[in-house]
Symmetry: C2
Subunit: 517 residues, 2 copies
């Protein structure tokens, strides 16, 4: 076990302005939105404190099962109560409180192309692609098991879509690649077909270490630079209630050790893996998230950590998970309040449980976005392409979501109020009873005045009817194909490509990683 380094600098980008990177690039791409509005607070400060205190009671009295001896040893050394011969770890309040305030409020997640790096934290928002779906779907080919061809197509599509800022994992699981080497091929693909920031799954130490090394090679930096610059993040899910499994804990240790971001997301579906009440589900979510935060900071004080909220409800008639529900929205708002209390970035998701790209898919997604965005989300997982509660990634939904995210970004762009925008001269020019189509003020601005959606069909009914009554699913089908057809691979330094190719070949020759994690 590597001892945590007390003098690890806290990773900060320098406040609210855009972070300048050593290479001179602008860390926040032009398209990365920021929440200039106040986040919505769904509960009072007192109620928030009650949730916090309840979660501390859970950690202190009930505890969390840590299925990893190394993790338990780190926690025991720090003063946690680790029951002998058991996985149960109890945290006293003082231990938890002592680890708060160490993780950065904001950090840069570096891409291999510096122009694609994103800010995580503050009031920045980064949109990630759908991740981890076992199935892929489009309307022409139907729903099928995940495979490398679809995986590559999703990566190409996401690379092309400006609203997709980062990868949150594999858009679809390429299960036709053997599990021992899947991460090598899949990471090679995402690091060569795309130049946006990436994610590494925590499914055993070998995969984490390979991902970190491949990221380092793709960026063309040395180990010390990588240790300073978060460049690959991992999502850690607890096995709610109150358990964190071996590979997840190994992932926290390996990633935090290298100063790579840990996004701790309890899987607290109210009524199933968490209490049926939203307050209870959030108390449990918070306990599990804090357990991850404490371990991360003990491994490396100041390692970047993101508070993940995924609390939703289930359909109490069937037990089916539900997303984009009113309960989901409220939990998303309160999750943001908790993350702000701990001064760490916040992760939420663009989720829905629809089986097809219909009105339900859209309203559950936009309700999710409402909760996530107004909750102050910094990292939006599953931003584009998620369907069916995560069971399939949809090409059409990825295109449609890119449009929704574009609209959200425009919604977040502050309204400018100055003399030119107040347009008194234009109002004088036109006067009562006129129109503004030809006004000088209009002519000077109309091309870029408004967000131009990719999907929305605003033709009049008659024209639309004559065109065969296409719906948004049709438009999304056309859009994704057109976008994919226009794909061009981002440039990559030949030396880096060669080194990456050689690394993958060597690791494959070595047999990849064990699959019995």
């Amino acid at each position: 076990m590597e001892a945590p380094s007390a003098d690890t600098p806290r990773q900060r980008s320098g406040g609210r302005g855009r972070a300048r990177m050593p290479g001179g690039g602008d860390a926040a791409p032009r398209t990365q939105p920021r929440l200039a509005y106040s986040p919505t607070e769904a509960v009072s400060a007192d109620a928030l404190e009650a949730i916090h205190q309840a979660s501390l009671t859970v950690l202190e009295e009930i505890g969390i099962d840590f299925l990893h001896n190394g993790a338990k040893e780190i926690l025991r050394t720090a003063g946690a109560d680790v029951a002998v011969g058991s996985n149960r770890v109890r945290f006293d309040r003082g231990l938890v409180e002592s680890q708060l305030g160490k993780a950065p409020e904001q950090f840069t997640l570096h891409a291999r192309n510096p122009a694609r790096s994103v800010e995580i934290g503050g009031n920045y928002i980064a949109f990630c692609s759908v991740a981890s779906a076992p199935n892929a779907a489009d309307r022409d080919g139907g729903r099928r098991s995940g495979n490398r061809a679809d995986y590559q197509s999703f990566v190409k599509l996401g690379q092309m879509l400006e609203a997709v800022h980062a990868w949150g994992g594999y858009p679809v699981e390429p299960i036709d690649i053997h599990a021992s080497i899947r991460h090598l091929d899949a990471l090679f693909d995402v690091l060569t077909l795309s130049d946006k920031p990436i994610h590494a799954y925590s499914l055993g130490r070998g995969r984490n270490l390979d991902a970190i090394e491949m990221t380092r090679i793709a960026r063309g930096v040395d180990d010390a630079t990588l240790d300073r610059e978060p460049s690959v993040f991992t999502v850690i899910n607890s096995s709610s209630p109150l358990r964190i499994d071996t590979p997840m804990l190994e992932g926290i240790i390996q990633m935090a050790r290298r100063n790579q971001p840990v996004v701790m997301t309890p899987f607290t579906l109210a009524g199933a893996m968490a209490p049926v009440s939203i307050a209870g589900a959030l108390a449990q979510q918070n306990a599990e998230a804090l357990a991850g935060l404490v371990l991360t900071q003990l491994v490396r004080p100041g390692a970047p950590f993101v508070y993940g909220g995924f609390t939703s409800n289930v359909d109490m008639k069937s037990g089916a998970p539900a997303f984009g529900t009113p309960e989901y929205m409220k939990a998303a708002l309160i999750g943001g309040q908790l993350a702000r209390r701990y001064r760490v970035p916040y992760r939420s998701s663009n989720a829905n449980a629809a089986n097809t790209v219909d009105a339900q898919a859209a309203y559950e997604s936009v309700f999710s976005l409402w909760g996530a965005i107004m909750g102050g989300t910094n990292l939006l997982m599953h931003g584009a392409g998620w369907m069916e509660g995560g069971l399939h990634a949809s090409f059409e939904k990825m295109a449609l979501d890119a449009d929704l995210l574009g609209m959200v970004a425009e919604f977040l762009r502050p309204v400018v109020v100055n003399d030119a925008e107040l347009a008194l001269d234009a109002i004088r020019e036109v006067g009562p009873g006129g129109h503004f189509f030809g006004a000088a003020h209009t002519m000077a601005r109309y091309r870029n005045a408004f967000y131009a959606p990719m999907i929305s069909d605003w033709r009049n009914y008659e024209t639309w009817n004559e065109a065969g009554r296409p719906d948004a699913y049709d438009a999304a089908n056309r859009l994704y194909k057109k976008t994919l057809a226009a794909y061009e691979p981002p440039p990559m330094d030949p030396a880096r490509l060669e080194e990456l190719t050689a690394f993958v070949a060597r690791r494959k020759a070595e047999g990849g990683v064990p699959t019995d994690f």
Copy 2:
């Protein structure tokens, strides 16, 4: 011209609690939601003041055309600058400021069934049906011109849907009824087939007076009671830019005189009838809304007035109106800030420009709702059934919107945080690695723990696939038919029904109203 009465009591319901009515009813139905969260402020206080000041400059220097001699006389008497031989009215700042603060912040809109009365203002939200569509549509019958049969079906459907609190006008225009008597039949239908609060169109004095009298009869109250109790509201649209037409001004005068609510809604589509910049469109919206507010308060100080915001943008390629856009959302937020500045209730809309009930219809609607709700809307027009930028009312969309509005209402229901809801005992009972399905805490709550949607299909993919892959449009089609089939007319006192029937018969015998307004 009736002189405004200086001692007209300001209509207030008594603060934030539910208003008790003289009849003992509870003015706010159980389903009427409230915004317990802070509204989102999209611009700073300084920027808001700049918009306010710009609108005062518009009123003072450019002025508004008032196409009504009586209205001009009222304004001239109050000190406005009315150009001789012209319709142009210019308001100095002092005149405008002198009329602010007179209209009530909140009032009860009375229904003929006291249990259906709604609060307008404060943090209450009332959802209205779609209104004023020239066409009706459902999937089976397609899109057709508005007619009385469809009109009655919409009234029955809206009556059955709990999420529809009030009528904002005719859901669809029954154009098969002659214009001279259409209002008599249409109001008779809505006052007998429904017991929810109603709206009267301002299309000539006769129609306003008939609507007020029919409302009085249906409520079974005397004139003095009606004058105390707002019971029928009118939406006044300016003919932007900067013009208010004759029947609209007549409507303000007739309705305000009887203390009935005026909802003043400028039709400021940025780039067409208003500047292409959002700040400019809002400055113009605000000027037109303030002009209506001033006239209303001069007619009767303290008459209920609602600030309407409808600013959206057009598609600058085609000139087609767009709704539920990012620009719409921002305008909705800032409109709410302006209404709160003037301490009057705020009206916005659930709008979309889709031709069919697809993902676009849903995302534009939910984006509209996001802007409206977080903007602090008190009166949501077109809440259920609006399609195609208002050109058709859809039965399926009314059903789907009722579900969306139900979700919004649940989202707005505050999360309770107390020991029982924090559920520490349940978390203890279940412990790490368990599940909550059978926990006592779950069993005691699961039936009503979560909002149960009417449309959302949460079946697993295989079951859904075997069921024929129904989408939300299918579900909405089934839901609206099932709901309509279950319609039962609300009870009505036979004496009131007889009086109402006789009134309609008499007014028809008299020839109705002139149609050359």
